[in-house]
Structure formats: C-alpha cells, structure tokens
Amino acid sequence: MAHPKRKTSKARRDKRRSHHAIADVTLAKCSNCGALHKYHHACPECGYYRGRQVVNVAN
C-alpha cells in the first residue's frame, strides 16, 4: 500500500486551508428602521419585509 513519505508540514497544511474560509453573509439595510438584515429575510429588528409588517418582533 502507498504511504505518505513525509509528514505534512505546518506551512503546507495551512496553505491548503487558505481557501477554506467561510464567506461573510451579505447584509442589507432595512428600508423601515435602517437596521441590517439578511437578503430575502424579514428585518429582525422591526419585522418588515419589502415595506410591509410581516411579523411581530415585540414579544
């Protein structure tokens, strides 16, 4: 059976992982209250989505 000839060095390991980062979530500004919310999601602060109250956040 084939085996690794060398232990993978820290540099080589870390270079491999240089592309493993998770991308940031893209956020948008709520048109009602100005807070940040995820695209295609109701605003977590005021419950508005596309200029309309969608859900009650007060409770």
């Binding site: 295609h40 999601h41 109701a42 005021c46 419950g47 309309r52 109250q53 969608v54 009650n56 956040v57």
Partner: protein, 188 residues
C-alpha cells in the same frame, strides 16, 4: 440522476407527512398566517394551493375532493365559504413565504407562510404592538411630552370622560357582537 423526485420527505413516514400537511393546512386556513420552518412552509404550498384552487368553485364534487385530502369538515367549510371567494380573482400563487432567520434550539430556518389575499388582517394588530417598541427607542421624548401636556391641563376631567366613553363603547360593542356574531362568522 434525480429524475422524478419531487417534494420533501420532512424526515417523516408517508402517513406522518400527510398528517403534518393536514395540520398545517388547518392552521393556515384558520389563522391566514403561520410561522413554521422554511421546508414545511414550502412543502405546504404544494399541498394547499391546489386545494384553494378547488375551493374557488363551490361544487359538491370539489368539496368531496378537498375533504378527501383534509378529513376535516370545519376546515373544508371555512375554505369554501371564506378563503375560496377571497382568492377568486387570483390565478394561483395564493401563499407567500417570507424567511425569518434561524430558530434558537435546533437552528432550523423559520418562515412565515401567509395567504396573500389576507394582507391587512394581522399586520394592523402587529403594527400597534410595534409602535410600542418604537416609543421605547427613538421617539421616546416627543410622544411622552405630547401625552403629558394635555393631561396636566385637565387630568381629572379627562379621565372621568374617558372612563365613561370606554364603558359606553364596551356596552355597545358587546350588544353589537351578540347580535351580529352569526353574521360575522359567516363573513369571516
């Protein structure tokens, strides 16, 4: 290849899945707007929308077909007398799914699913609740001062009048509710 693979299993057996869809449909027809997981909301569209299309035309056959899916005559009646006529002019697309973010506990993504033609029923009540949160934050000072100013001018007189008005209104509304309760239920 994933040919001919439609829908979601929702980690349930066929009978369990069917029962879930019935329960969600009953809730949606009653409340016009429910909060559930995104997967269930999206699956519910596939289940409810054909039923609402059936409910637009109130015939014996359509009622039997819908009842075979729901097995609940109260929900069927409500669907045909209330939801069907309301959605009459809409050529499909009776529901709207809006994502809400992730649930604390299991991290499931939640969503509101609502009947599109019942836009104004619940948001009104919710807007009043939302205004309360606003007062605590941004517009705290102007509203509080505006409220306090007239009260200090004639606090005793206003309170008495307000109480009387409230009492009268309560009586009137109670009577009206008793008289037109049957009509209202039919309208709803």
């Amino acid at each position: 290849m994933r040919h001919q693979v439609k829908g979601r299993k929702l980690s349930r057996t066929a009978s369990h899945r069917k029962a879930t869809m019935r329960a969600l449909t009953a809730a949606l027809v009653k409340e016009h707007r429910i909060v559930t997981t995104v997967a269930k909301a999206k699956e519910l569209r596939r289940f409810v929308e054909p039923l609402i299309t059936r409910a637009k035309e109130d015939t014996h056959h359509n009622r039997k077909e819908v009842f075979s899916s729901l097995q609940d005559k109260n929900i069927v009646t409500k669907l045909f007398t209330e939801v069907g006529p309301t959605c009459k002019d809409r050529p499909g697309g009776y529901t709207r799914v809006i994502r809400l973010g992730f649930r604390q506990g299991d991290g499931a993504e939640m969503a509101v699913i609502e009947l599109v033609d019942y836009n104004d029923i619940q948001p009104e009540g919710k807007t009043t609740k939302k205004k309360r949160t606003r007062r605590a934050g941004k517009t705290n000072t102007p509203t509080s001062t505006a409220k306090e100013a007239p009260k200090t001018e004639a606090p005793v007189a206003e309170e008495e009048v307000a109480e009387e008005v409230v009492a009268e209104e309560a009586e009137v509304t109670a009577e009206a509710a008793d008289e037109s309760s049957e009509e209202e239920t039919e309208e709803k």
